[in-house]
Symmetry: C2
Subunit: 196 residues, 2 copies
Amino acid sequence: MKTMEFWFEFASTYSYPAAMRVEAAARAVGVTVQWKAFLLGPIFKAQGYESSPFVAFPVKGRYMWRDIERLSAKYGLDWRQPTRFPRTSVTAARIACSYGDAAWLPAFVRAIYHANFAQDRDIGDDAVVRDCLIALGLDADAVLAHVTSAAEKPRLREQGEQAAQRGLFGAPSFVVDGELFWGNDRLEDALDYAQR
Amino acid sequence: MKTMEFWFEFASTYSYPAAMRVEAAARAVGVTVQWKAFLLGPIFKAQGYESSPFVAFPVKGRYMWRDIERLSAKYGLDWRQPTRFPRTSVTAARIACSYGDAAWLPAFVRAIYHANFAQDRDIGDDAVVRDCLIALGLDADAVLAHVTSAAEKPRLREQGEQAAQRGLFGAPSFVVDGELFWGNDRLEDALDYAQR
């Protein structure tokens, strides 16, 4: 079975359309997705950025908001510009790391992105994360206890180190057999590569 | 007749596939292209960059070379990584400004890009620019004298100011009725917008 790693960060605007599209697009061509959450903060710091490049370079940031609005319309995705950017999302990222192989994980990831970029909800607030878990019929208390346990807590940092080892510098990214594709615009190329 | 501005810089790697594709893609959907050369240097300086972001952020630069190689293969374009990047290209840009409406201009633009990104020739050297003009059956001496005349020389700077007024921050860019699209990946979306 061909597999593709999908690297995403919940605060990342361009990860939103990628996260909403990746499962159906991959399934259509027989590729299995490995869901890999990571935090961009340490990656940006290593490049010398204090925050998102869209904050550091305001002219690029203004363009990005308009571009994402257009892309959302093109893909038929709900969209509302968040009043805070970038939002922290450590708990959601921990869940995505610890439950990367769970059948419900893709739906959870989409729910968090929808909360951030279509509902303008604070995904850094554990109450919002809980709502997303409960809506999927999950035991939110058990999930939150598990991902903050001593055994599980290091996983997000470890996955971040894995991201750096793969040469990732932004999100979303796709990795197929060590070949890196950066950006929502490269989803189709990455899937083509997986089928080569 | 619908028109689309195509903003390009000869040193810009992602402007290469865009420049090679734009005329045929626009013609196929009945859109007229306005060819707009500009220099990225002043635009990058205004954002706080000393050189290309691909030089300032090496991990992004390494990815870009691989990505352009893949894109060139995808589009069926010749490709050889230039031994110098970014190359200066003031004379070629002056010609593209002064002769923006000439019937031969698109072929000249493609010839310069091919010299830089498929032949690794120094497009900052007037001898290379001359070769491209002569290969198109043009009077190279007359063209070079014209673009460096007192009347024509300010045009490149003026076009650069026009680029800044439009909010451009990178190349290639497409502008349709004031709507900005950034990057080779947005050529099709810009053409869709021109036909809305």
